[in-house]
């Protein structure tokens, strides 16, 4: 990739679990907390911490509600999150392409 800049990697996404969350949401658009927990094989506490970081960066929107009597946490990717993820992938791909 021309103009590849290693320093463009986004700190908010960098990290396997946060990258997984963003990748999954980029495809699904939205997911329940338990769905993410299962797919990413993460613990509840760990997932909560990483979701909060992504929420602080404005990349995901967390909506808490109820399904019947059970609490339900749903996570949506935001337009800013999509853009950041696309940029992140571009940088990673560039790194692989350049060194392979």
């Amino acid at each position: 990739m021309s103009g590849f800049d290693v320093n463009r990697l986004d700190d908010a996404i960098h990290g396997r679990l946060r990258l997984g969350i963003m990748a999954y949401l980029a495809d699904a658009g939205a997911a329940d907390f338990n769905e993410l927990k299962g797919v990413l094989e993460a613990t509840q506490g760990n997932l909560s911490v990483h979701l909060s970081k992504l929420e602080d960066a404005g990349y995901v929107e967390i909506i808490k509600g109820y399904q019947g009597k059970k609490p339900l946490t749903r996570v949506h990717i935001t337009p800013a999150g999509r853009q950041a993820f696309a940029r992140y992938i571009e940088v990673l791909s560039g790194l692989v392409e350049k060194r392979s």
């Binding site: 290693v6 320093n7 463009r8 990697l9 986004d10 700190d11 908010a12 960098h14 396997r16 679990l17 990258l19 997984g20 990748a23 999954y24 980029a26 495809d27 699904a28 658009g29 939205a30 997911a31 329940d32 338990n34 769905e35 299962g38 797919v39 990413l40 094989e41 993460a42 960066a57 749903r74 949506h76 337009p79 800013a80 999509r82 853009q83 950041a84 993820f85 696309a86 940029r87 992938i89 571009e90 990673l92 791909s93 790194l95 692989v96 392409e97 350049k98 060194r99 392979s100």
Partner: protein
Amino acid sequence: MGRVFFKSRASEPADLAFVRSFAGEGPRAQASAGLVFFWAGLLYGLQTLVYAAIEAHWLRIVPPFGLWLAIGPTLPFLAVIGYVAWRDRKGKGGVATRALTASYTSAGLMNLVIAVTFGGLALSRQSTAIWLLYPAVICAMQGAVWYAASLIRRRLWLGIVSAGWFVTTLALTLLMSQVAAYLLWLGLALLGLMAVPGYVMMRIAAREGAVTKGEPATGAVSDPQAAREDLAFIQTLVNRGDQVQMSGGLLLLCGGLLYGLQCLVHGLDMSGGIRLPPLGHLINGVLPTLLFLIVLGIVLWRDRHKTHANAGSRALNAAFGGVGLANLFMNVVFGYTAFTQKTWLIWMLYPITLCALMGAGWYVAAVAKRKLWPALVCAGWFATACLLAARVETPGYLLILSGALALLMALPGYLLMRFDARRSA
């Protein structure tokens, strides 16, 4: 996290191309679907409103313009389809995006099958009622598609559009004898429930795909091996068709066997192979549904706490849920119309529609799972719909339907149960 996630295959050009394309595929696919819906709704909505005005004697069209009015919307719409197909020819979505796009496409495929079968029958029987049922069926299919979209994307407005389509299905059924009002409602529905949502989808896609201002906080990674593993991890997470699970194997098996047997008995009776007494007819008519409802109750109770493991499974089950919902509305549409028109032939159109609906559901399964066997089942259902239309009102009709229910419903249901059992073991 993930035992298969560290397989470093993403350095291969095809894998790299997938991951790169995937990041922007959601908004791209949404923009394409929006574009198709917008133009389809606008062109056919306006065409239908003109027909409504003609039917109400508010407008008169002289012969050459009548032909232009009939084919006019289709020509630009085909151009839109061609443009979208060309633009998206290299698109590589994740499994949820694939399933959603397939869900939209399945509505088009079903439209084609229903247009061919109902059109042929309406022409051969000189029946306006059959032709008027065609939009009602397509409205129910639209309801199914938007229902699936609402469950996949978890957006309320998509659910409202779905409800609007189902309401339109019922309204068209009730208005079938008042053609001007029927066409007016249909035209407004095409504009309000297809063109407007299509435009909204394009706007959302444009907003999601727009370049955001401001640079994020950044850090350095210079290890290409780590980058390769990250890309492989992403691909494994979003692109594995084999992770997509379909529930309802037992329902398909029981439904296929019970209704297949029912059609076989009825077909043999019609062809003179066996002679059923009146009580036999009653039992054959009622018992399969009674048994199926018992199985349905058991499955719903058993799976009441079950959630879908991933977005692909959610998407696929949403598509089949939409098919089930549309089937329910089809029962009402064909039952009511056959009863009010006192025409048995209209009720015989219901299984044709059901076959096309099943074909649409299996099309989504084939695209999401990327397996050959669901594609064959899909093709089988569409072929059955055409065959049934050709053999309607003959004993062969019920025998074909019986074979299709056994081969294309019971057998895949059994296979799904086997896959489930193997996965659980």
